[in-house]
């Protein structure tokens, strides 16, 4: 009797086994294919960056010898000489300048944009619709359009060749995108907590500071990160307003090494480029999740 039961079962088992194996094989093939393609495309996109890092360790003569990124005779001379720069300042000085621009700008942005967004999201005042509409309108305005009037304005204020033209617009919530982002985020947060705080005796600023800002933290972190990245990478702003070399941020200093040397020391430039993108890269990877949160803010936040 056992045989009767066993033999058909065995056949079924084998059949099932075969199907399962086929399934697994198909799954494996599709997975290899998928990841293969993804990896290839990813590599293609990343290759310039990888090459940049590799080339920064190459000698000048080797850089244009081939498209490979592995240096034959690795050398750190690019870094050593690049750091010295062709100016009286080291590259460290330019990094310091960059942070002198970036840090006050981030602080100013965070404070001013929060206050403005809080106003738009939570209060009714005459002309609110018109003001908010013009805020959104400035989002659509290309930066270039306002460069010249802005330049004239700052020139007449006597702010040229100082960091003020870079700091001040941001300290007055000049970045409409951030205000908009925070307004959207705030709209998704119920008002009850703020009302509870008012009943608890908090005034408007205390509500903002003790209740709204903590609730807004994820969005604020995104704002700071974006501002950090954009300011680090900003070339045109410093180029227009800053003329003395000792105030140059890294973005200008890089250009400087191209300008002043007749025979370009490419490996120095590449080495300093690597250093330049490093802070932004580190910040991006450390704070990746806040970027995503910031971008999707308002959409799904409940």
């Amino acid at each position: 009797m056992a045989d009767h039961v066993l033999s058909p079962n065995l056949a079924v088992d084998q059949e099932a086994d075969r199907i399962l194996k086929a399934q697994r094989r198909r799954h494996l093939v599709s997975m290899v294919l998928r990841y293969g393609i993804l990896a290839a495309v990813g590599l293609l996109m990343l290759y310039p960056l990888i090459w940049l890092v590799g080339a920064s360790f190459k000698t000048n003569s080797e850089i244009f010898a081939g498209a490979g990124f592995i240096p034959h005779e690795p050398t750190t001379s690019g870094y050593v000489n690049g750091w010295k720069t062709s100016t009286p300042y080291t590259f460290g000085h330019f990094f310091w300048n960059t942070f002198l621009i970036v840090i006050p700008k981030i602080i100013g942005t965070a404070i001013s944009c929060t206050a403005v967004a809080y106003g738009f999201a939570r209060f009714d005042f005459p002309g609110k619709k018109v003001l908010f509409a013009s805020l959104i309108a400035t989002l659509l305005l290309p930066n270039v359009v306002t460069r010249i009037p802005q330049y004239l304005l700052f020139r007449d204020l006597g702010w040229l060749d100082s960091f003020l033209p870079l700091w001040v617009p941001s300290a007055f919530a000049g970045d409409a995108f951030f205000v908009f982002m925070l307004v959207q985020f705030l709209r998704a947060i119920p008002r009850d907590m703020e009302e509870a705080a008012r009943v608890d005796g908090a005034n408007t600023w205390q509500v903002l500071l003790f209740i709204v800002v903590p609730l807004l933290t994820p969005a604020l972190i995104s704002v700071c990160l974006f501002q950090f990245m954009w300011t680090m990478n900003d070339f045109l702003g410093p180029l227009i307003y800053i003329s003395s070399v000792d105030k140059f941020p890294v973005s200008l200093a890089l250009k400087l090494s191209i300008d002043t040397t007749e025979a370009f020391e490419w490996n120095r430039i590449l080495a300093m480029s690597v250093l330049t993108i490093l802070p932004a890269l580190i910040v991006f990877f450390v704070a990746q999740k806040y970027f995503i949160e910031g971008i999707s803010a308002g959409g799904v936040k409940g």
Partner: protein, 371 residues
């Protein structure tokens, strides 16, 4: 001294009038419930008392002072919100003490107050937790604690139990009424204004109940009066469960005709009836105030049973009388199948407890002392 007075209070949302000049006095230590269907402006009224909505007309007085233009924090009120509104980034301890810390009270006082409140509400074990780590009932207790710790003159509750499940709601109901009694017994400020849409909550908790409809007060009275002597058809229909049967009837002399049937009104009804009552009326009888009678009995309404619901201790009969649907509740023991011929039933309303309302104005015309 925490009497609350509303005088001709109005709220106008730029053209849309939400509150139409209401007058309400809440005595010191009283538990006043504002109840009504959604959209009756009970929450708006509460929020105006709290100072979260601007008053567009009339006065609000807490104690002896006019508070119309005072900030919420200066009114001597505390509020419990429907969705608790705990500060999500603060631990329970900080949530409780937020108001006191804003007022820069000494640390020992804050510590003592936190301990007292957490003992009363049994939340001592959760002091170091964040609001998201609390269950609904615990969060609700913390929200009540946050109000309690401020020792306000007036407590405001905005549908605080509507987010809880039925069982928890019942126990929180008892807890809040007990708390109110305890505060009163301790001689503390304990005036309460409590907003709900649930008439059971209103009936079980309120010293007095203010029934509202579309921004107007329909009646303010204690639960027993509201139930037994509703001022109008709206209150009669809103209070009580299942709701009162309200059927069209016409009065001529002492005979009430309902469609082709008629009832002879006895002295129990006629003595109460306003002599100036119009003839177009609404006859109001609570589902519990009918008796099933046999074919021989006079003064009964005949109807067709469309549906029977057995609830255990009682039976709900859905009866169609002259094209108007009524609910009749009879106790399971009194439910006598033999009294129903086919699906025809004879119902005798108790005239002692029935009411007559003016069909046009809704006003109760069967409350003798009001005339």
């Amino acid at each position: 001294m925490a009497r609350l007075q509303l005088r001709n209070l109005e709220k106008d949302y730029g053209g849309f009038k939400a509150v139409h000049g209401i007058n309400l006095d809440v005595a010191d230590g009283e538990f006043m419930v504002l109840v009504g269907p959604s959209g009756c402006a009970k929450s708006t009224t509460l929020r105006m008392i709290a100072g979260l909505e601007r008053v567009t007309g009339g006065e609000i007085r807490i104690g002896d002072s006019l508070v119309n233009d005072k900030a919420p924090g200066e009114r001597g009120i505390a509020m419990v919100f429907q969705n608790y509104a705990l500060y999500p980034h603060m631990k329970v301890r900080k949530n409780l003490s937020f108001g006191l810390r804003l007022k820069r009270r000494p640390a020992e006082e804050i510590e003592q107050a936190t301990r007292d409140v957490s003992n009363i509400l049994e939340i001592g074990d959760y002091l170091e937790r964040l609001p998201k780590q609390l269950s609904g009932g615990q969060a609700q207790r913390v929200a009540v604690g946050r109000a309690l710790i401020k020792k306000p003159q007036v407590f405001l509750f905005d549908e605080p139990l509507s987010n809880l499940d039925a069982k928890l709601r019942a126990s929180m109901r008892v807890r809040i009424t007990d708390l109110h009694k305890q505060l009163k017994a301790d001689g503390l400020q304990s005036t309460v204004v409590y907003v709900t849409h649930d008439q059971t909550e209103a009936m079980t908790m309120g010293d007095r109940i203010c029934v509202m409809k579309e921004g107007r007060i329909m009646q303010v009275a204690d639960p027993v009066t509201l139930y037994n002597r509703p001022a109008n058809a709206f209150v009669a229909g809103f209070i009580g469960s299942p709701e009162m049967n309200l059927i069209d009837a016409d009065l001529s002399g002492s005979t009430l005709s309902i469609g082709s049937q008629s009832l002879a009104l006895g002295p129990a009804m006629l003595e109460r009836l306003n002599p100036k009552a119009a003839s177009a009326l609404t006859f109001g009888v609570r589902p519990q105030h009918f008796s099933l009678v046999g074919a021989g009995e006079d003064n009964a309404l005949e109807g067709r049973v469309s549906h029977v619901e057995f609830m255990g201790h009682e039976v709900y009969l859905y009866v169609n009388v002259e094209g108007q649907q009524m609910i009749v509740v009879v106790s399971a023991t009194a439910y006598d199948r033999s009294k129903i011929q086919g699906d025809i039933v004879r119902l005798q309303p108790s005239q002692e407890t029935a009411h007559l309302f003016d069909r046009k104005t809704g006003e109760n015309v069967s409350l003798a002392d009001l005339h």
